[in-house]
């Protein structure tokens, strides 16, 4: 600690500047990887993606060993597990009570949540790129003799990214809506599973399937969407992304923190 007198009021402009959204996003990215749980979750995502690639190129049919299929399989564990990192990014602020530190530094609560969503999007992008690299390595090693092995429509690459990023944003939404790690994780997996179970009832199957996020998400990595499929998937996924996030924002901005 310096011994000089404490400046009052005459604070240099640089010190007073509001932290930029870019810097806050970087901080939130750091928070996703610097805890024990975050670190192991990301390692698990990487390990499972690698495993998916290896299994696909060793055991898959010739038609499955093309780059686009290897990539779809590589991204499947990412889409399932990565959102948990997103859930924890928000919910741990409450479960671990760090909200009392984070919002003391960034009192504009909407801004901090915006940084978390942006960080989630960036992590989803990184995860997609890692998936592409793993899938490319696997494809190059194992399937070089298959015709059109590298062919992938650009649209499908975009959908692959959309798959990961959508799952991530839904996860962040669940973390924000529930503000508690365990219930958020349980509901994130339980709610779609519960919906799928309800689809067994014949009379409401159509309605259930149209709002089932799992089907909509998984179809993203399957084939390039036409207009009708876009309409269907966009509506379902928007609902799952926007609704929890809106509930979360309402709770976070309205409620007293740290009770």
């Amino acid at each position: 600690m310096s011994a000089h007198a404490i400046d009052r009021g005459s604070v240099p402009a640089g010190r007073q500047a509001r932290p930029g959204l870019g810097r806050l996003t970087k901080v939130e990215l750091r928070k996703m990887v610097d805890t024990r749980s975050g670190f192991w979750l990301l390692l698990a995502v990487l390990g499972l993606s690698l495993l998916a690639v290896v299994i696909t190129i060793l055991a898959g049919h010739e038609s499955d060993r093309t780059f686009r299929h290897v990539l779809a399989n590589a991204l499947a564990p990412t889409g399932i597990l990565l959102p948990v990192v997103g859930i924890l990014l928000v919910s741990s602020e409450w479960s671990q009570r760090t909200a009392l530190v984070s919002f003391a530094l960034v009192p504009d609560r909407k801004r901090l949540i915006a940084a978390k969503v942006l960080a989630g999007v960036v992590l989803a992008l990184i995860a997609t790129v890692v998936g592409i690299i793993l899938a490319a390595l696997g494809t190059a090693l194992a399937s070089a003799d298959i015709p059109h092995v590298w062919t992938i429509p650009v649209g499908l690459l975009g959908q692959d990214f959309l798959y990961v990023v959508t799952a991530m944003v839904i996860g962040i939404g669940f973390g924000a809506a529930l503000l508690s790690s365990a219930p958020a994780i349980v509901l994130y997996f339980g709610l779609p599973a519960g919906l799928a179970a309800l689809a067994a009832i014949h009379s409401i199957r159509g309605t259930i399937e149209s709002i089932d996020p799992t089907t909509a998400l998984e179809s993203l990595t399957g084939s390039v969407f036409g207009a009708e499929e876009w309409g269907q998937a966009a509506l379902t996924l928007a609902l799952w992304m926007v609704l929890p996030l809106a509930i979360g924002l309402w709770r976070i901005t309205r409620r007293d923190i740290g009770g």
Partner: protein, 309 residues
């Protein structure tokens, strides 16, 4: 100067008629006080008296039902980069258990735009050594968490410190260290508001005391002011007779902790009553510390009743 200080000159923290209700009950009731530069204000009260809620309202975590709070001349949440002006420690346990101590500080530094080098200086200042800095916060004792929290509050070289029960869990050596740190901070022109439920923790450092009980301010002022208001401590060989005589003269008297009677009157008035009743006194003096302790003891015993309800 100038633009940054729109509020009343010289007031860094200001609570004005702050009131907060939970389920109809006012947990903070019409609380007003001010903290000025160069001073340490001790915010004293038993657990559950409303200290934490008041401090959280000052820092924008909870909205008051009425009244207002200002820091550095404005609302906390309107400060663009509060970490560079106000160091806050609201709960030492509010750190991610799975994060390393040094990393927790590095996150704050990055958020408020301070070079990460400063983190190591601060770890040294709060005496967390290299091995402690590398440990995950889950493994920290409460005392270590307090040190980490104080380092976290100081990273941005703030002008104001707001610390909720920072001495909790510190050993006697740690308390002496913190006392020196806060005194030095105030001597250099900083403003400190710290809360405690133990009188002796803040008695030695606070220039001013704000005492809260059951949501209301019970007393506030400089230590000397409070001590002079504390009444008279008197001892007589025949305590019962003295008590009766004081009662007859209209002075409220009660038994003080550690013997004697605590009287709500000047020593002179008590002396006159004793003389007129022909009672020999053993001790007659301003109550001072004993009076402050009694005031505190009364608040604390009130709290116990509340818990039972």
């Amino acid at each position: 100067m100038g633009a940054a200080r729109k509020g009343k000159a010289g007031v860094m923290i200001e609570a004005e008629k702050l009131t907060k209700r939970f389920g109809g009950r006012a947990v903070v009731d019409d609380v007003s006080f001010r903290c000025e530069p160069g001073t340490v204000t001790g915010f004293l009260g038993p657990n559950g008296a409303g200290k934490t809620t008041t401090m959280r309202m000052i820092c924008g975590f909870a909205g008051p039902d009425s009244g207002r709070a200002a820091v550095c001349g404005g609302r906390y949440r309107d400060l663009p980069n509060p970490g560079r002006r106000i160091g806050v420690l609201l709960d030492a346990s509010a750190q991610h258990g799975g994060r390393r101590g040094r990393e927790a500080l590095a996150i704050t530094a990055q958020t408020i735009g301070v070079e990460e080098r400063r983190v190591d200086d601060l770890l040294g200042l709060v005496r967390l050594d290299k091995s402690a800095a590398k440990k995950r916060v889950r493994q920290y004792s409460l005392g270590m968490r307090q040190r980490l929290g104080i380092a976290n509050a100081l990273i941005g070289e703030p002008e104001v410190l707001i610390l909720d029960e920072p001495a909790n869990g510190l050993d006697p050596e740690g308390m002496r260290w913190m006392r020196g740190l806060l005194k030095d901070f105030a001597d250099r022109g900083g403003t400190v508001l710290l809360s405690s439920h133990l009188l002796h923790e803040v008695d030695a450092i606070a220039d001013r005391l704000v005492i809260i009980g059951d949501g209301k301010i019970v007393a506030q002022g400089s230590r000397d002011e409070l001590l002079s208001d504390a009444g008279t401590l008197v001892r007589a060989e025949d305590a019962a007779a003295l008590s009766g005589a004081l009662g007859a003269a209209g002075h409220a008297a009660r038994e003080a902790e550690g013997g004697g009677l605590l009287v709500d009157a000047e020593p002179r008035a008590v002396g006159v009553v004793a003389r007129d009743a022909g009672i020999a006194l053993v001790h007659l003096a301003p109550a001072g510390d004993a009076g402050l302790e009694q005031l505190f003891f009364d608040l604390t015993s009130g709290e116990k009743e509340e818990v039972a309800v």
